[in-house]
């Protein structure tokens, strides 16, 4: 009897559920407990309730997805279990001066809900995905512009993992990643890429000076490794098709700057690789290739929507078989990727890039700066929410 009276008081004194503007509604805190109250509304709806003693406010929402008229149609997706509470709980809060505010149900990290309680992902980790994209890729070489050039790029697996500790370590793995360009034709592929960044808690070297008062200076070097295996470049030239096999390359890296989660960085790397090249009618060549690069990858926002990268790389193949002397390869590139839409929580992103390249290792390629640009879309699969 007391319960029925409590429900009556609650439902007559407080507002009935109605579909409101989701943009104007606050959201329940997913880190705080949520109570569930049966028959909390005049039409018997079950509510999720979260009260805050400091602000004297109780947030409420239907415990389910509702249709446009506010009627519950199905259970909430990705909802935490809630603690049952009697209807008198709301009445007691009302008596205590609490304000009842319509809110969006709680959603897990990386997800949000609309005014109907439907959940959707709003935080994406593009460092864990499969992707496939296509782009318009004009280029300008030796005064000639190829405005109709297009390309498609792909990555069978992009996977990064952060091992948290006092000296956190981020592992980066990429399998079968590359692109193929047409009109004129060229293509590149890397079967396997792995690199690791580490933030060393202890300095590599500490120097104590004894001029006057002893003082300590720390020299911290965040060293890592960078390896690629199974690289392939193909170029269609007037003098015949050219093939460049980058069999294995290993570099030592020094991170000049790291974000706390090591996802963003600026670093220098240098090392050596072994490659073979061939061209129709010219035979095969092998080379040992010292090289180095300055590169940076930045994730610009917490939700993982904006990514900016830049790279300057120089390689100097020294031929050991089939040819003599050395060659030069220099390239620079800057790229930006932003998520524009998500289909079933799988992001579709816009990718822009610009670059320049100069090389003399492939006969037929103009030994002059080639300017390239790209504007296209990428479809990514997987891309879970970024780690908190």
């Amino acid at each position: 009897m007391a319960g029925a009276a409590a429900v009556f008081l609650c439902c007559t004194a407080w507002p009935a559920p109605a579909l409101a503007d989701g943009a104007a509604m606050p959201s329940m805190d997913p880190s705080r407990p949520v109570l569930c109250i049966d028959a909390a509304s005049p039409d018997g709806q079950r509510w999720r309730v979260q009260c805050d003693e400091n602000s004297k406010t109780c947030l409420w929402s239907p415990d389910g997805e509702v249709d446009r008229s506010g009627v519950v149609k199905r259970d909430l997706e990705r909802a935490r279990s809630c603690t049952p509470a009697p209807a008198s709980y709301l009445t007691e809060r009302k008596t205590g001066g609490y304000q009842l505010v319509r809110a969006l149900p709680d959603a897990p990290y990386g997800w949000e809900r609309d005014e109907r309680g439907r959940v959707y992902q709003v935080n994406f980790d593009l460092k864990r995905r499969l992707y496939l994209g296509a782009a318009w890729a004009p280029s300008r070489v030796a005064g000639e512009t190829e405005a109709g050039r297009t390309t498609f790029d792909f990555g069978l697996l992009v996977w990064e993992h952060l091992r948290r500790s006092r000296s956190p370590t981020r592992h980066r793995l990429r399998l079968v990643e590359g692109e193929a360009r047409l009109a004129p034709y060229s293509a590149s592929l890397v079967l396997a890429h792995y690199d690791v960044s580490r933030h060393y808690d202890n300095p590599l070297v500490r120097i104590t000076t004894f001029f006057g008062r002893p003082r300590r200076s720390d020299l911290t070097l965040h060293l890592g490794t960078w390896v690629e295996a199974g690289g392939l470049e193909l170029h269609g030239e007037d003098q015949g098709n050219a093939r460049l096999w980058k069999l294995a390359t290993g570099h030592l890296t020094i991170d000049l700057w790291q974000s706390a989660d090591l996802e963003s960085y600026a670093r220098a790397r240098a090392g050596v690789g072994f490659e073979g090249a061939s061209q129709d009618g010219l035979g095969d060549r092998s080379a040992v290739t010292p090289g180095g690069a300055l590169e940076s990858e930045l994730t610009l926002d917490k939700r993982g929507f904006h990514h900016l990268g830049a790279e300057i790389e120089h390689e100097r193949p020294r031929y050991i078989e089939g040819s003599e002397g050395t060659a030069e390869r220099t390239r620079a590139r800057v790229h930006y990727e932003v998520i524009v839409i998500a289909l079933n929580d799988q992001p579709l992103s816009l990718r822009l890039s610009a670059g320049a390249e100069k090389r003399d290792d492939i006969p037929g390629l103009a030994d002059r700066w080639a300017l390239t640009a790209q504007a296209g879309l990428r479809f990514s699969l997987w891309a879970p929410p970024r780690a908190q």
Partner: protein, 298 residues
Amino acid sequence: MGAAARAVARGAGRWSAAVIAVVLVAALPRAAAADDPCWVSHRHGAYPACFDPGNRLHLDLTSDGVGAGIRLRHVVGADDPDVSWRLEHEIASVRATRGAIRAVAYAGRFVRHSTDGHVVLPFGRPRKLFLPFDIGAEAEVGSLRGDTSGGSLHLGVVRGAALIDLSRAGNFRRRLAIGAAARWDIEVDGDSRTARAHAVAPLSLAALDLRAESRSGLTSAGLRAEVGGVWSTDVGWRRWVGADAEIERVLVAVQDRPLSVFVGGSFEPEDESVSGLVGLRLAPLIRVPGRRASSIDD
């Protein structure tokens, strides 16, 4: 040992564990369950009446050659019980006929199944619109198709497709997927072993993928097709039409290893020719769904 095998099988959501799981699940004895329709009781011991054609090692004897391959498929759950990932893999698939060979090093299909399809527009406050399909992708790396007598070889470096699955099936038995495909192929001269032409399709192909499979796994049928334009270094843009279809039916099982007959046909995109074949398929390693029932004599 049996407990270890079941523990590994529970972890079959991981790709590496899936390989081990298929082998062990096929090889080890199972617990009793008398009411499982996939197991038929017999006085000498229960025998299976269902098979999982997506988890097997198969050997083919066809009207004009031989073939073999490994297929794996498994479901990976998500935090949300309404969402799951259906992953299918084909590894080292080979078919050799008199004078010709077809092989694929790896082909995978990854579909995100959700009971709530939608598109999110992340402008201002994100908005959600309903969509009636699942999202997925296909990847194929290292395919080979060609003439073993010194003619041309078609090397498929990579093929990828973004798909929408209109069937929205929560299992592997039905698929009605359409999408856009990209591919990068190299036509190799068989004598000189040099590239004769390179072909690139920058998501310029429409892809269709149909599949139906009986609940018991004894009957299955599939059709895959690609239509569109491919740019080639020798002729520029050209039409590309390719299709594969196959129907398979398990007829008998020997020592619980199914032997099936299959009929297949294909429309080759390079020379736009039609070919067909009939064959027998033995699966010496195959996953059997359900659990073994007790025999009558037990």
